[in-house]
């Protein structure tokens, strides 16, 4: 990749670009969010190999621009719904890194008290309404949250993230039709990373663009965005959010991207054709975004400072989570019911 020359200092023209419709503050936020996801997920990966995290984990390394672009465009009281590949979408809502790493490590400080694990990260207070591990289920659930917002006229919206493979399950089609006929303020975001688990999406899908080519079936425009460019994602998000908030109903957005690692920890991704990963590494959203910030005249010191602060936060969260005790066994018997317990008889 040819590196573009870094412009030293902000010329007026660059300043204008930096302070365009997105603006410097949002850009720095999106850069920070992408780095938070990247560093936290790399940490999760390392902790796995130290056997401090059990079970499974599905990394979104390479896909960070999507959650970050949408996250930066959200109102704090909006709802997000995501999948088992949901560290990113939960983090961008501002959840505690300690709570997240603690949950991955099965510690008492875990955000779900050790009862959900990596695939179910949720922070209701932050509007992160859950990570769902049965393909497709959360699309209608997100529509339901949007129904609440519409019914109570709160101005909130719901954003639902899912993968390309999810466009082939019934719930995807039920939810989008349902959201359209009820004009629900929900934005469906398909992160097309080219693969379901191990099978290329093109081998199992009747159309070329798994989400965008289906949009017309529900009277929606076909929207495709570069999912590795946080600015492009942010702009598409703002447009869809305005439509949803003003009563214009749902949107379906397909963001093209690529996961650098395998589907889950267990997957070495040997099914990928040679050279494919390398091509996509050139389009890694984070170095690209860093370069853009520098090109726009943000000082290198500022850019580096953001990354240093993120690494420090991840380090601190790691130590805090490691130091947390394991959850007391009583937690396993709590919160089946609203009364806090698990009793099914008198």
């Amino acid at each position: 990749m040819v590196k573009r020359a870094t412009v030293k200092g902000k010329t007026p023209a660059l300043k204008a670009r930096l302070n365009d419709d997105i603006g410097e503050e949002k850009r720095l936020t999106m850069y920070r969010l992408q780095l938070e996801v990247r560093h936290l997920e790399q940490r999760a990966h390392d902790l796995f190999f130290q056997n401090l995290i059990k079970g499974t984990s599905h990394l979104a390394i390479g896909q960070e621009a999507i959650a970050s672009g949408f996250g930066a465009a959200l109102r704090p009281d909006d709802y997000t719904f995501c999948t088992y590949r949901g560290h990113a979408h939960t983090l961008v809502r501002g959840t505690s890194m300690t709570g997240m790493l603690g949950e991955l490590m099965g510690k008492e400080c875990g955000m779900l008290k050790g009862k959900g694990g990596s695939m179910h990260l949720t922070d209701v207070e932050k509007g992160a309404m859950g990570s769902y591990a049965i393909i497709g289920a959360h699309l209608p659930i997100a529509a339901g949250a949007a129904w609440q917002a519409q019914y109570n006229k709160t101005g909130q919206i719901a954003v639902c993230f899912f993968g390309d493979g999810t466009t082939n399950i019934g719930a995807f089609h039920e939810a989008i039709n349902f959201a359209v006929i009820w004009d629900l303020p929900v934005v469906f975001v398909c992160e097309n990373n080219l693969y379901m688990e191990y099978t290329p999406i093109s081998e199992v899908t009747a159309v070329q663009h798994p989400a965008a080519d289906r949009a017309s079936a529900y009277g929606l425009p076909s929207i495709i965005v570069d999912g590795n460019d946080a600015d492009a994602v942010y702009r598409v998000a703002i447009t869809a959010f305005e439509k949803a908030r003003s009563g214009g109903g749902p949107s379906l957005i397909e963001a093209k991207t690529y996961r650098h690692s395998g589907h889950s920890r267990a997957d070495p991704a040997s099914y990928r054709p040679e050279g494919e990963l390398e091509e996509w590494l050139k389009k890694d959203p984070i170095p690209m975004y860093r370069q853009r910030l520098l090109d726009f005249g943000v000082k290198e010191k500022v850019v580096n400072g953001i990354e240093e602060a993120v690494i420090q936060a991840v380090d601190e969260a790691t130590e805090a989570a490691k130091a947390s005790p394991t959850p007391p066994v009583e937690y396993a018997f709590a919160d089946v019911w609203a009364d806090g317990g698990s009793s099914w008889r008198n």
Binding site: V124, L139, P140, I141, G144, Y151
Partner: protein, 325 residues
């Protein structure tokens, strides 16, 4: 008191709760303008309008998913699944999502919703519109399971289900929709998790649910008149939570227990109750527990075949006479 049918009691309960609580909303297929395929929701759309009583597409996952998303964010939805058999197409939303979300999130998520559904046989609809699936629901931690046998219980228990902070599946037995009974006209809310002793006897305790309750009562009357056998009849009413205290105390009084279950035999609710009784009051029993159930078959549609499979008054009388003698 007013005389209402079982189906009218459904609409009465929903109307009562919608009047007092703006956050109660209702969705399902053909439930609004058409008043439901069983006419159990007639008048609700007229009274509460498009925003609160909403017709949906034939999208059971969307119906229950939307109900869940709305419940998690502050509404109290009632969702209708037209026939309980159709729960199979949205069982993920029931069993993985609605049932588990509070638990899996460490108690962060509330799930105050009701799934109403027409359950059970007797209508000659064949095996895809006649199953009794209350035992499916009973197996899932995190779901309350209610099945009323009278119009009064429909009103009181459905109102209680709507107010309940936990998800409730409310099984309406479709053969009971036309049954009439006295129902309180004023605001009426019953308690979920309480069985009801409908008849007091000395010789045998019959445990029944939904459509099996009127049959058990009729059988008890005939046992008394024809054979001098005096039977207690308990309407279980709620499988989760289960009123084991009433079940155990009524067991101890007679020492003989017969369950009458419409669900197919394997893992029917009577099996769980039998196991509780055996573990907790075995030495009070004077005979082995007897389960009268629909055999372990899909249901047939022809009158004679369907009637021969679902426990009948004759079968209850005959079985108890034989076992108790």
């Amino acid at each position: 008191m007013a005389e209402l049918t079982y189906r009218e009691a459904v609409a009465a309960a929903i109307a009562q709760e919608m009047r007092r609580d703006e956050s109660v909303v209702f969705l399902g297929e053909d439930i609004a303008k058409a008043g439901g395929v069983f006419k159990a929701t007639v008048g609700l759309w007229e009274e509460f309008g498009d925003l609160r009583v909403r017709d949906t597409p034939i999208s059971e996952q969307a119906i229950l998913g939307a109900a869940m998303g709305a419940a998690m964010t502050g509404l109290k939805p009632i969702a209708e699944i037209m026939f309980s058999d159709f729960l199979a197409v949205c069982w993920d939303i029931v069993s993985n999502q609605i049932a588990k979300s509070r638990y899996m999130t460490g108690g962060q998520v509330d799930m105050p919703l009701v799934i109403r559904t027409a359950n059970g046989g007797g209508a000659r609809f064949g095996a895809q519109h006649s199953q009794s699936v209350e035992n499916w629901a009973m197996m899932i931690p995190g779901i309350k399971v209610v099945a009323p046998s009278t119009p009064a219980d429909v009103k009181g228990l459905l109102a209680a289900a709507i107010r309940d902070p936990d998800p409730v599946i409310f099984f309406e037995q479709k053969s009971l929709y036309a049954v009439k009974g006295e129902v309180p006209e004023t605001e009426y809310v019953d308690e979920i998790g309480k069985a009801k002793v409908l008849r007091d006897g000395d010789d045998v305790t019959i445990l029944a649910l939904a459509l099996m309750v009127p049959r058990a009562l009729e059988a008890a009357e005939r046992l008394q008149v024809e054979f001098g056998i005096s039977a207690t009849v308990v309407d279980i009413r709620s499988l989760v939570p289960l009123d084991t205290q009433t079940i155990l105390s009524e067991t101890k009084k007679t020492g003989r227990v017969v369950t009458v279950e419409e669900n197919p035999r394997l893992c029917g609710w009577g099996a769980e109750i039998s196991s509780i009784i055996v573990e907790e009051c075995f030495y009070d029993l004077d005979m082995p527990i007897v389960r009268i159930t629909t055999p372990h078959i899909p249901l047939a549609s022809a009158d004679e075949l369907e009637d021969a499979m679902i426990p009948s008054v004759d079968q209850i009388v005959e079985t108890i006479r034989r076992e108790v003698d």
